[in-house]
């Protein structure tokens, strides 16, 4: 029979009684146990034994807590004293940590926002967007489209296997008017299925009654406030004027809460699509792709398994048309994209609702966030180890007085945690102050309650503590390993091992900073290239007035004459599109000698006479449009790529007959290629045709820089005199142009700020490190000076070590930076080449700043009087 006490209990008890004094007690317990075992039986004995554990545990635990709390208080006190003792060192460390943490948090807030798009919808994991590939089409570099025919979702919503709900909508811009309040607003046209799919919060009204009447509209709370103030908007009328419909009064039948800022669908009103003019046709015609389509699939169904059925459904309808019957290879393909991916992964899809983000930038920014945090951590580690010499004696005394290694480790960790705690408080203050301007910088609206959310605090404090512990672990490990004997025999001179590590850290820090600098320069250069490049047309001092009133252009001739009479208006023209964005594409063209099955896609736009001259577009052959040409004549100007693609010379092309949409016309001139899309895509064939201005969207004016305000006021007066019902909207072409690269501009700006931050943090580290290294060498410098070295020699000597490190870091970051920069540039068709200049500038910045930082200290050290440094012991 086993007459020993239970094993686990014995183990536990021995842990509780570990101290020296208690060693024999365990024996006592065992003796008592075997006594009880004999007398009272096993179970009683066991119970007694376990009872002892319960008895001893509480006192042991409180005992332990009491002493460790006491020790911890002591650690904090020492940490506090060492912060005060070396104020500049502490300042560098804490502010580095705070800035690093704050950058990390700001980027984290942005990324969190970007990743949260559309996840607020109920069952968002089951909602998918349908995208369509049209194999024969290539529009702006992609054959994928976000728009589909309306009957598709109608069919999918009608008891289709595996689909729980289906909804489609189209975007709509309309001029809304209530009494004298009149603004352009963004909305959507859809039907009741929309509400089954997407989670919208009803403030008044409900799904069942909102769309009973065709002349109804649902508006958001903020729209209601804008037009009706605090009055109840339900049942009130709003005048609607949009491209989709005849102008009409609509009654407010529902009010919903504002769309959250992380919604890809952005709108302020919802109009029932069945009330629109073209509904009959749109809802039955399968060849018209105008709707964003979403489906919610049944639980447990794989989205891929639905794709063949969707294709089948569409193909069955499309082959009824002779074009697809003859060209079955051109039938579309489909894909289902999770709704949460729409925001970040749609950059290569044509037509998307709302403002897109880019997953590439998310990766890039995450990397930057971590990199900055790492730089800040490295700073801490570096400075703490560099300071180890001045604190070695302290460790020695502690050890001699009986401190265990764990005590020393705890002490240094506690110090690091205290640093990071102060850093956390500062970081919070920085985030709090910077968040509004940051939200402008990244062009997003953040939830104002964000800073109060527990998740934010958890991340803030969690990151701070982790950073503190990681950064503190190395010094703690290093310092606690010192041997007291060595310390007092002053053998600790930082050891070659730790010096190597410090150097490696500085190299790493600057390598990262260099890469950031290279990235900033390349993005700056590319954006500068785009901004300043000759896009083939002149975009300076061009004022584009948006035409909202269709009647306005009927009196274009009179209007243009009156405008031209102003001496500050140099030229007047009009066009369907501005030359930076001619996005209409057709294959409905024909000419003599065109092959039967050849598909020739050409971008096209209607303009009035004077367009070519106003934009200073160079002609290679032929003439520009004639002002006096009859309305019936179809005159066209094509670009260089156009004639090359067909195989004509420019001279041959002039005078050729050309058929556009079965209308016969003539090519009157060939223009030099200009960039009519974006720098992301290459230049393709373009055709400009002369057209009466009736359908033109822009009135285009070349103005002189003098008296600009008056000129604009004059234009406004003239335009509103003719169309007083509509607001006056205008923009300068160069702004419109720059706006096309908003994502890139944003990235560039963000990168600039964080590069500067990274550089500052890295320099602070370098400065601190230099300061301590020089302190170590004070005597050496003194002796050198006594022996006749001059200041310049000494400064060179001191700087050399650091510059070597920067040089190494530069060789590391050069290929990496080159690779990353080219990777980013790949998305541009027209781009800069990453030349040596980038690297020269990067080197100049890195070396320049490093030299400044280090020299500030080294010059002071070198000019110090050797008498002072040598006499002190």
């Amino acid at each position: 029979m086993n007459n020993r006490p239970p094993k686990i209990a014995e183990k536990l008890l021995s842990k509780l009684l570990y101290d020296d004094v208690w060693k024999t007690t365990l024996g006592d317990f065992e003796e008592q146990y075997s006594y009880l075992l004999d007398k009272e039986g096993k179970s009683k004995a066991n119970r007694w034994y376990w009872g002892q554990i319960l008895r001893y545990a509480p006192s042991k635990i409180t005992h332990k807590l009491y002493w460790s709390a006491g020790m911890f208080k002591n650690y904090l006190k020492i940490a506090y004293r060492s912060i005060l003792k070396n104020k500049s060192y502490s300042f560098i460390n804490i502010s580095g940590l705070a800035v690093g943490l704050a950058s990390f948090l700001l980027i984290g807030i942005y990324i969190n926002h970007e990743l949260s798009y559309d996840t607020f919808h109920e069952d968002s994991d089951r909602i998918y967007r349908i995208i369509r590939e049209a194999p024969e089409e290539n529009y702006m570099g992609s054959s994928w489209f976000g728009v589909n025919p309306m009957p598709l979702t109608i069919a999918l919503g009608d008891n289709f296997d595996g689909v729980e709900a289906a909804a489609s909508f189209s975007e709509s811009e309309a001029l809304l008017k209530v009494e004298t309040n009149s603004f352009y607003e963004q909305g959507i046209n859809t039907d009741l299925d929309f509400f089954e799919m997407f989670t919208l919060e009803w403030i008044s009204g409900d799904v069942s009654s909102a769309f009973k009447n065709p002349e109804s509209v649902i508006i958001t709370q903020s729209l209601a406030a804008k037009y009706f103030g605090s009055a109840n908007p339900m049942g009130k009328d709003i005048f609607f004027d949009s491209d989709d419909d005849e102008p009409v009064f609509r009654t407010v039948t529902g009010v919903i809460a504002d769309i959250p800022s992380n919604s890809q669908l952005v709108f302020d009103f919802i109009v029932p699509s069945y009330s629109l003019d073209n509904y009959e046709r749109a809802s039955t015609y399968w060849m018209n792709n105008n709707e964003y389509s979403y489906i919610k699939i049944s639980p447990g169904i794989k989205p891929e398994s639905l794709v063949p059925q969707i294709s089948e459904l569409v193909h069955a309808q499309l082959v009824l048309d002779s074009y697809y019957a003859n060209n079955p290879q051109n039938l579309p393909n489909f894909k289902l994209v999770p709704i949460a991916d729409v925001h970040l992964k749609s950059t290569n899809i044509n037509f998307n609702p709302g403002k897109l983000g880019d997953i590439k930038y998310i990766y890039m920014l995450s990397a930057i966030a971590f990199v900055i945090l790492i730089i800040a951590c490295v700073n801490y580690m570096n400075l703490a180890t560099a300071r180890s010499m001045s604190r070695a004696k302290e460790v020695g005394v502690r050890k001699v007085n009986g401190a265990f290694r764990s005590n020393i480790m705890m002490q240094f960790s506690a110090e690091a945690v205290l640093f990071s705690m102060i850093g956390i408080v500062l970081a919070f203050a920085i985030v709090f102050i910077m968040l509004p301007s940051f939200s402008v910088l990244v062009d997003r609206t953040f939830n104002p309650n964000l800073l109060l959310k527990p998740l934010f605090w958890a991340v803030l404090i969690g990151t701070g503590l982790i950073v503190g512990l990681i950064a503190g672990s190395y010094p703690a490990f290093f310092m606690s390993a010192l041997k007291p004997i060595g310390i007092f025999k002053s053998q600790v001179k930082g050891g070659t091992g730790s010096r190597k590590l410090r150097n490696a850290l500085v190299v790493g820090q600057f390598a990262i900073t260099n890469i950031l600098i290279i990235g900033s320069i390349v993005i700056f250069q590319q954006l500068n290239f785009i901004k300043s490049s000759d896009s083939g047309y002149d975009r300076d001092q061009v004022l584009a007035v948006t035409i909202n009133d269709p009647k306005l252009m009927q009196s274009y001739d009179a209007l243009s004459q009156r405008l031209a009479s102003n001496s500050n208006i140099l030229a007047v023209s009009s066009g369907r599109y501005l030359p930076n964005d001619i996005r209409s594409q057709t294959s409905g063209v024909n000419w003599d000698g065109k092959a039967e099955d050849e598909i020739f896609r050409v971008y096209n736009g209607g303009v009035s006479a004077g367009y070519i001259e106003l934009f200073g577009i160079n002609m290679i052959a032929g003439n520009t449009f004639n002002k006096n040409a009859p309305d019936t004549a179809l005159n066209m100007i094509v670009n260089e790529t156009f004639v090359h693609r067909i195989g004509w010379t420019p001279e041959e092309a002039v005078g050729k007959d050309f058929t556009l949409w079965r209308n016969e016309g003539k090519i009157v001139g060939v223009a030099e290629d200009f960039n009519f899309l974006s720098y992301h895509s290459t230049i393709t064939p373009l055709l400009l045709r002369q057209q009466t201005p009736r359908n033109h969207q822009y009135l285009i004016l070349k103005v002189s820089p003098a008296n600009l305000q008056q000129t604009i006021a004059f234009v406004e007066e003239e335009v509103t005199a003719l169309g007083p019902d509509y607001p006056f909207q205008y923009a300068f072409l160069d702004d419109v142009f720059n706006n096309m690269y908003r994502n890139e501009l944003t990235l560039g700006k963000i990168l600039n700020y964080f590069t500067i931050l990274g550089l500052i943090i890295a320099c602070m580290g370098l400065f601190g490190l230099a300061a301590f290294m020089m302190e170590q060498r004070t005597k050496e410098i003194g002796i050198r000076k006594v022996l006749g070295a001059d200041i310049f020699q000494i400064v060179t000597l001191l700087n050399k070590d650091f510059l070597k490190l920067i040089a190494i870091s530069f060789t590391i970051s050069l290929p990496l930076g080159w690779f990353l920069a080219n990777n980013w540039l790949e998305s541009f068709a027209y781009k800069i080449t990453v030349g040596p200049l980038v690297f020269i500038v990067t080197a100049a910045i890195a070396f320049g700043i490093a030299i400044l930082t280090v020299s500030y200290k080294s010059i002071r050290t070198a000019t110090a009087n050797p008498v002072d440094s040598l006499k002190s012991e």
Partner: protein, 108 residues
């Protein structure tokens, strides 16, 4: 010097009486015997330690025995200071009891 408490007094007396075999378990049994109460082991460790710290007891580690799982015993021994303390408390008790027994026992 502070006077001994009652439990300290008993423990010292028990140690004295037990002689060579004075370690925790027999001490506990002795106390149980004397007072006819159940003393817990934990209850005597503290005073033992305190008395040792005060120099009224001293302890040595003795051989181990199998029923103790091969662990040592801590054998206690009275020091001169312990004996002096016992005498002191005895004197105090003698004085304070003076005259009481006759009254008490005479009454019954």
């Amino acid at each position: 010097m502070k006077l001994l408490t009652r439990s300290e007094e008993y423990i010292l007396l028990a140690v004295w009486k037990l002689g060579e075999d004075a370690y925790s378990i027999p001490i506990q049994q002795k106390l149980n015997e004397i007072t006819d109460k159940n003393w817990s082991l934990g209850g005597i460790y503290m005073p033992l330690e305190r008395l040792e710290k005060r120099g009224q007891l001293m302890s040595t580690l003795s051989e181990s025995t199998p029923e103790r799982g091969g662990r040592h015993k801590r054998i206690y021994k009275l020091t001169p200071a312990g004996k002096k303390a016992l005498r002191e408390i005895y004197e105090v008790q003698k004085t304070i009891w003076a005259g009481i027994p006759q009254l008490m026992f005479g009454m019954s």
